[in-house]
Assembly symmetry: C2
Homo-oligomer: 443 residues x 2
Amino acid sequence: MTRKLHLNAFLMGVGHHEAAWRHPRTEPARLTDVRHYQELARIAERGTLDSVFLADGVALNGNVGHNALGGLEPLTLLSALAAVTDHIGLIATVSTTYNEPFHVARKFASLDHISGGRAGWNIVTSAGEAEARNFGVVRPSHADRYARATEFLDVVRKLWDSWEDDAILGDRAAGRYADTGKIHPIDHAGEHFAVSGPLNTSRPPQGHPLLVQAGSSEDGKEFAARHAEAVFTAQQTLREGQEFYADLKRRLASYGRRQEDLLVLPGISPIIGSTEREALRLEKELEELIVPAYGLAQLSTMTGIELDEDALDKPLPDVPAETEGAQSRRKLVVDLARRENLTVRQLIGRLAGGRGHRVVAGTPEQIADQLQEWFFSGAADGFNVMPPILPAGLGDFVDHVVPELRIRGLFRHEYEGRTLRENYGLARPASRYASGREAVVAR
Amino acid sequence: MTRKLHLNAFLMGVGHHEAAWRHPRTEPARLTDVRHYQELARIAERGTLDSVFLADGVALNGNVGHNALGGLEPLTLLSALAAVTDHIGLIATVSTTYNEPFHVARKFASLDHISGGRAGWNIVTSAGEAEARNFGVVRPSHADRYARATEFLDVVRKLWDSWEDDAILGDRAAGRYADTGKIHPIDHAGEHFAVSGPLNTSRPPQGHPLLVQAGSSEDGKEFAARHAEAVFTAQQTLREGQEFYADLKRRLASYGRRQEDLLVLPGISPIIGSTEREALRLEKELEELIVPAYGLAQLSTMTGIELDEDALDKPLPDVPAETEGAQSRRKLVVDLARRENLTVRQLIGRLAGGRGHRVVAGTPEQIADQLQEWFFSGAADGFNVMPPILPAGLGDFVDHVVPELRIRGLFRHEYEGRTLRENYGLARPASRYASGREAVVAR
């Protein structure tokens, strides 16, 4: 079978561009309107995209004075999207730092049942100070967050395994609903968690909902290589993309995993026009709507240095080395500023499109060229598509870029499978508690 | 306006009778099938019921060997029901003992947005030992659980208030999305929680999703009188119902609340037949499907004493006084056994229909008579309807009992309002942070 690329639609309010809410083609009042997201999921499904994805944090981050923030909690929202779609995968971000594994296992198991096997979990560790303050704790160190995440995931997987696939008998005549010998306490007792189990939701259709990860720090990459099945990453240049891709795939072997067990999906924000000129016009329109104060606040958060209006037309000041927070994103931003010799104002313009993700403006063919190049140059197994304005940008991608990718033989014409795992081409994990034949046969 | 009763459909797998899954009119495989619950919600909405409600616990309680357990997590499920309904309220049970207020505030705010103001929260404190073992803690005492619940609810309400109703400006031209002076940190610092806020989901359409409570202990009743807007309760006899009702309403004044600020909704499991004989036949069919081992296990959990098959045809042994666990349910069960002089087997039969809730078998008119009597005798503002088998029992209630209640002028013909609060006839809380005119005008 020819290698096909995988496409995820990263949904973000009324668009990924930070000024999207000011653009005449969006409706910011739809930020908390479920019909907006249902429309997006249907568009993505019309384009046979693999999945939709919702980022998340557990604090009001960014300056709501100048951007459309304060939307819906991802897991709650995805159930409502499951109800109006049949094929598309549904990936929600949930933190391991401020949650309990029992709840997370159960909610994803429920979403997996509700969607018929379309749930995915983007595992994050919550780097923000503001998030810690909503849970009455001092922000844990990077290492501590990853140690907790590792054990958290271990508990969640045990809970997903706690009902074997054939535990339910449903034998009405004999009055036997389940074979209790196939429903297992997990009796986990570790450094961070003590959880008896079993889960009180039966085994998810996918065995385990898909595991996604997005951190690009050293800890993040190790975690991804060991556990993740898809990685969303921000890479600005082809070379960086290739290095990240090779680095991550190289790490798989030491965990006994194959190259195809993990998909690398760099982010791309496609600014699409029917001509290049039209695309550049849209890009310019959005750039002109940027509120400098918002960009400054965002950049201050990303870099860890305070920036005010006086800094706008000067180069980015030196950024202190720090061991906490989103390190890899900080490096990406500083590298971009230095490499292209940007002023702070120019840097804000470059980041406004995708918060550090790559922005490509052009015709559908030009966008497809970019995707194809990365796909065939060892930089990507597919892409995390981040439309600048929503729903219009996703509609343009599905109606114009997807057909071009299909013509080139790079993308599916219809869904291969029934579950998110099947469409991503990933195996179905067997329950660790299953004995004998079932465990071997299960995929 | 004539006083009307309020009806909530308590959804429970394929029925409230513990042998429902064995009855030929149910399909136990639908336990984790979202379409089953969507059908139930649509039936309830067809009958203009106020709301649907899902109970919950965070452990696999009960013997899954003999009953259909292991279903879906309520909040996740309710979003999927919101997507296919327009009017019906959506009430989920969530524990304050093993959760964080930030998450709970946000998920209910999201469900309230998704449903257009139809969310309700049944607040429980998780009395079970097995639940504690899924969160690595020793089960807190009754008093500690209620102290935590009180502070938890305080934090959640502050978070729901943290965005004033008119905080969002959406002023594209000026680049002003929100008036940050109307989005407030809550800076809560209490015994159990330290939460900075604000919430990162804007103010719910109802201001606060509806607050529901079900505990009947002394602590539970005080909590309900102080905070709850609807109470689901288990009362076997009219007299007990009247006493509970009067007791709860009497407590309201000391918290500055009016009689109509809290609705008392006793549970009732209606076994409906087109003739009394048909109803009794269904009751008998279900009784004959009871698995004694299951009933013994349930009764052991309820009473706190170990019971085996030898106990079946003897009176219920003495039950030790205990200060922890679901005290009020234990008292109800023991009182029932003593009052009617039941053997353990007979008691199991009586409890199988509704786990201690009142079971009434009869024609639609007879069921309506019962509801009417309690409604006019100071025992109920409405009912928590617990059909023995689902969806059939709910369909029978909606198609035969509801029309009878309408004819008698006891129940609405169409929804009065758009939100759950409006249909329950409850005020919309103003944000505590709103200053001046808005706070006075808001209802």
